[in-house]
Symmetry: D2
Subunit: 483 residues, 4 copies
């Protein structure tokens, strides 16, 4: 059976025992730990929806390796239609969770590695692609969740990997032997890694020959010996440890994706799981491929999340009695316009995708970078407009515990009442949802997830064909061509 | 032969003799008149490129009526792929002309009328669609240029057609007889009409029963008796009457589309060319269809024009010796990002199009409106950044006549020299191109062409499904559904 | 002695015993409670700096009532220079605290009440101003901190006070007797009230005669019988209850101002502290005066806070090794530009202030509203750029407890190291400061403090003199004046 | 008599006979030439208003040299109040002309030269300041209009003056003798120079020792032998040569300032008019002083022009029948907000000005640069919103000649009628005013006048005191100071 469901996903995680730290302590029961549950719920939904007939088209696909139905999150894109469906699947899950569901990073890592290993082998006669296809088959057959491990800590950002004072600030090979390789270093911002099955490591930037020990791609289980995960703090994180549901905002799902700093203390990787080792000439392409796939996503998942934020603004306006005010409607129209613009960018980079040598399809890289660059701006503005519409109570609301205090309950219900037909509790819940979905970590994730804005600008300039545009202008201005 | 070329297009226009006024005078030789030539050149290019093998895929199509190869500008869209090709054809022509080539208005009118007449007939048992298909055949076989006639003068905009003090401020039927109808009124902003073969009139807004005399669609030649065209002024228009090419900027093409105020002084339309007459219930749909098709375009043609503007900024920066300055590159990246965002919106509304009852395909209306709303903002910002990059000479440059004055030539060439390897004249030509492409009429056209921003916002809100979004938020906030 | 210092301020608070609830519990030791301390520290700094010679000019003033040196936060502005100094004092305190120091609300309430009571008395022959001056003297002599109590809960915002189903949704008089009045209702978003001495209540909007019971201004101690304060939650609030300092970000001060929902359960106010009771005709002016004073502030305090945010971005860039990247410098220039624009608006509305009938000076209301409207946009953008510069660790950083865990300390210090000469802990501290100063509650406060943006737009239109501007245009266009 | 009026200004210009070229021809009767008249009218208004009692306070000042009443445009600022009055005078003139009135460049040149020569002399023991005061006296006594000559052509902008292939691309000394110096080169964008009395040349950028021949400041009459002025083209410039008034838009005044390329063919300057010659160390300060004064202006004159644009939008909305639409009011509020923000920046940089060593007052340079940087953005947005409100007729309106054609007059008046009580001609006039005030040259002038945006950003960063801000952040984050 290639499709897991929510339960079998959770069950399968029990078989892994990664070393996870959070708030200074080692967490042994990560599946029962309240800080992690919302993140696990989000990821689990990628399994659950795949089993529901109404979402089958978007959430499953037919494996090009086996012809079997697989969860789309393990699929290698076979057409631009697959790329469009990816965006729609992500928007759907964004709408259902209002959160990051974490599974796209590994998906993009699978597709990037698939295409690049094919090209390396074709050029170099290596057998990375064959090994990777075997790995992919294993992933598809077991419906595994993969953590795509891209970003190294980077240390002093003005220096290359081999120039860093501490050579471990980028993940690198420290030993090779008959059976495999030993790696040391770390990967930061590892989305969903504590509830993933495997991690798939990739190079983080284009490298030169001097950095060839850092030119690495491989896959291993997340609980491989020598790996430590330090789970990062998030805005309002400890509300997950409080009683009740209201003050958590989006109490069931994770808002952002549960990121960890993953440290590799001399970790062994067998050769059959090594997909690049030393081929520094291909690191640039690797990063571009992964980044293009990953930047495509942000007009999918984030527009789903934006739909929730727009919906919360609509609800707040209604509860406050101002839904028909023209300035409110105008602001909602602006929120919708930005959301659909982001969605359009993702759809367009998919529609304009093309086949790679390996047969897998890749998005249009120019438009994928445009997608992400816009996300780094629009999401902030969407959240700003949501604050504008909702009002100041988002920042000063009493706690759920206050509402539950018998001495205060009547007073809060009386004085925080909005329009007559809406219970005060509902109004409070919407304000809390807004507080938790529109600030702090969630904003930063829209900024830096899939790479920082400057990385997108560099790619945009690289892809823009300015020479052709200059010639268009010179021709129309009547300027004689330079001989 | 269904494909005209540039020459046969111009020849065919000679057979028409519309009554055209400009700058206070009747213009008899409109094909030789220097103020009109650039506009005619732009339109002619839609014919010329269709005959070039490298553009055949984008500029021609296969008629669904006859199976013959036709100019794409007369085609009824048969798939989302046709819609995507439309966008690409428009961008190509925008790049080649740096201007409006006028022919999309009629194209969109053909498609809108095709789909709506089908639905009217299906509901009412009328025969508009049959008549329209005959007309379409005539257009395709003769490769005609159609002026889509949508916008009425509207008078006091707070009043409906029948409420206006002067009933003629919207085009309406004043008489019906056995042979046809007599119409009176006007259409404003008629793009390309003086060099079109036919006009296809449509209703300008959703109407109620009291306005049924205004619920009108029909087609007639642009030189039908009783029609007067008053050609509007454009920014720097009389430079077209000057000698030389430099000060015209884009001297060969029209920058914007050559718009006229077209007045109908009791004009006869035979019944076989009447496609709607009194069916007020369908006016809303008619406008929506046309507007959706037409708003799609602006991420095509305007991105082509933007490519030229970006190219002129790149050229100016190089000529000034600042091409490698980081702030210049950053601004160019922003210009590219905005251009590709607009393009993405057009591609996405095409990719997400759907079939109508008639079999013709229509774009996604939400995303088409998003496209146009963004155009009303981004084009201004693109032009602003171009000014920033180019420098102040755009506003203070001596004239071409000064450069040709023997006493001044040496001085101008000496003192307006930029980098060493670029002739001063080239630098001046780029500045003039920028001056003429980035100000005045060209900006206003990006604002109001295909409808004003507020019209787009209304459609965006209408299409946004806010109720669904609100429910998403309430579900995630833990709010019990209202019973 | 009219000047308190930090200690005497804290001591004086002990003499008050307000009923305060937080997180569902009654808090008895509010001065020792870790959630409240940072807010108290911020307010205390307004007392401390007034005793330091280098800040004397900005933080103290000469009472126009007594000629004595007083804390400027109790001063009635006697000149435009006083208004300019207000802005500078606020910026200074914003820089020193990176937070809201709460005391301006009461200050603005004092000035607004001073000017309006004078005008009421002049018109109506009442003695509100005389009573108010006595109260003011008491405030100045004892250097009291006043909570300005403006915003009522408002219920259904489409309804006026007397139209609400529950008449208590706006604060109102329920009884009058020889000694005073009894009031019922609530005030929301009460900044700094739990560590203030007195509250000064004012009407929240312009009212008609039917709402005259709501036309109220008065002052009472914050622990008056019948008053309950429910302290609102803030983003990351419970980090204040954790050990350590790092994860609190701005650990010493409060980020925002410690807001409470203050409920008046039939509270008695003696006549000598009633400054308006029933004079509905003056409510509009009252709100305008207070709002103008209060909107002026946001280009003072928030620019001080912005200075800290800019400084944190500069530090982050240096620690990351990217301080000299041109895109980083460009973003910092944009942050500075926005900050100084906001400051300019505050300075300008002060410079262009004018004397009121009472002799007190009021800011230019048009420019004060412009100030605040810009704040609702720029602060978000400043925070966005700070996120951009700082990088993704702002959202995924391990906790201080992790750093203190001996097993992790070495690993975190190793892998989160930036440039060589900066300890990892410092880098983490800056990221935490950024996380806590740029998200959630802090943003919302910039949006809605001193009134929501739409309130500012309405005032801007009202003050804009559009008729004069229209005439300028008509004159230049050669349009004959209408007779 | 130190105050000229409009007539005596025009008369005095007749005594000068500068060599002026325009559109390829030498213009001998520059005072009667229709292309120049509107510019002369704008400048003349600076003389006329100074004689009107209601503007006396703003348009005149008391000379600190003589104690006489002088035109403020020749005044050396003696206080921050003078600086504030400068801004108000500029806004007033912007409102009255809707145009550039040209005289501020020379005014700023006078003030900059006054302050810098004082400091050079103090350091070097030269006598520039004494000579300059004599010159200033002459200017004040004769109420002269001075063209401030700052911007050199610059050639390849990546090269310094002495690195250019052609050494004349920056104005420089080619010979010195007993009587004076001979200079060669050019100044670009010379605002108002053909209707000025004198030009006052200044260095255009900070120079090193190798460029000391370019470190020059001097004053001479604009018709000095060897000087040629080539008057630049402007958008819609030749409409000034057409009959009628409507199509000119702002028919009486010049929209922008009438800029010329002024060439110095070995021009003699007597020593008594040389105010800097070789003191390269002072060029940076010179440019900063002039730029600060000049950037201050743009929140004065441009806000006056914006008032006219806002007024034209208000008029257009009323004429169209949409004045009460909420989206129209919202856009007008935005236009007002931007306009008043720019004004605030100018007021603030004035209020926060300070005394220089010479006794003259200078604006706050940080805030002056902020002013101008905002202008380069807001004016475009103000124009964009004006286009949005006015509607498409701005781009397609028939000509005044059409309206005067008897065959068309009735039709145009009928079909371009808006609301009932406004003559069609008035509506057309407003649209034409908008077309001419909001596009092309006028926009570019807001971008590059007083220096390009990047120049402002560099100054903003230089003035921002980032080190202090960084320390604020580090202190609040609990970071130990570096020892």
């Amino acid at each position: 059976m290639t499709l897991k469901n929510g339960n079998s996903y959770r069950e399968s995680l029990k078989e892994l025992n990664p070393e996870v730290f959070y708030l200074g302590k080692k967490i042994d029961d990560r599946l029962g730990y309240p800080s992690f549950l919302p993140h696990i719920n989000s990821a689990a939904l990628t399994y659950e929806l795949a089993n529901m007939p109404e979402y089958e088209e978007l959430l499953t696909a037919t494996s090009h390796l086996t012809g079997k139905k697989i969860n789309r999150f393990t699929h290698i894109h076979q057409s631009t239609d697959d790329l469009v469906k990816k965006v729609k699947a992500l928007r759907l899950l964004g709408q259902k969770t209002g959160a990051c569901f974490q599974r796209c990073v590994g998906w993009d890592a699978l597709n990037a590695t698939y295409t690049v290993t094919y090209e390396i082998d074709k050029k170099n006669g290596t057998n990375y692609h064959k090994k990777f296809k075997e790995y992919l088959l294993y992933v598809q057959e077991n419906d595994l969740m993969i953590a795509g491990a891209m970003t190294d800590p980077k240390g002093d950002r003005s220096l290359k990997p081999s120039q860093q004072k501490d050579p471990d600030l980028f993940l690198h090979v420290v030993e090779k032997n008959d059976k495999g390789i030993i790696v040391r270093g770390a990967k930061a911002h590892q989305t969903g890694i504590i509830n993933s099955h495997e991690l798939l490591a990739m190079p983080t930037l284009a490298m030169g020959e001097e950095d060839k020990d850092y030119a690495l791609a491989f896959a291993i289980p997340v609980d491989t010996k020598g790996i430590i995960h330090i789970f990062g703090r998030q805005t309002n994180d400890t509300r997950r440890l409080e009683e009740g549901t209201m003050d958590k905002g989006n109490y069931k799902y994770g808002i952002v994706g549960g990121e960890a700093l993953t440290i590799f203390n001399d970790v062994f990787v067998p050769w059959e799981r090594v997909f690049m080792c030393g081929e520094w000439e291909w690191t640039g392409l690797f990063v571009e491929r992964f980044a293009s796939y990953h930047r495509q996503n942000y007009g999918g998942c984030k527009t789903g999340v934006s739909d929730v934020i727009i919906g919360s603004a609509v609800a707040a306006a209604e509860y406050n009695g101002v839904a028909s005010a023209s300035h409110i409607k105008d602001k909602i129209a602006e929120m919708v316009n930005m959301t659909e613009t982001l969605y359009s960018c993702s759809i367009a980079c998919s529609d304009q995708g093309h086949e790679t040598d390996s047969g897998a399809y890749i998005v249009n890289p120019l438009l994928a970078n445009v997608t992400k660059l816009n996300v780094t701006r629009y999401i902030y503005e969407i959240c700003r407009l949501c604050h504008d519409i909702a009002g100041g109570l988002v920042a000063t609301l009493p706690s759920e515990a206050d509402l539950n205090n018998p001495q205060l309950k009547y007073l809060i219900e009386k004085y925080l009442k909005g329009v007559d037909n809406i219970p005060t509790e509902n109004r409070m819940r919407i304000f809390r949802l807004i507080e938790n979905m529109t600030g702090g970590t969630a904003l930063v994730e829209s900024m830096h997830g899939a790479g920082s804005p400057q990385a997108q600008k560099i790619m945009i300039l690289k892809q823009a064909n300015l020479k052709m545009k200059k010639k268009l202008a010179e021709d129309l201005a009547g300027i004689e061509k330079e001989k």
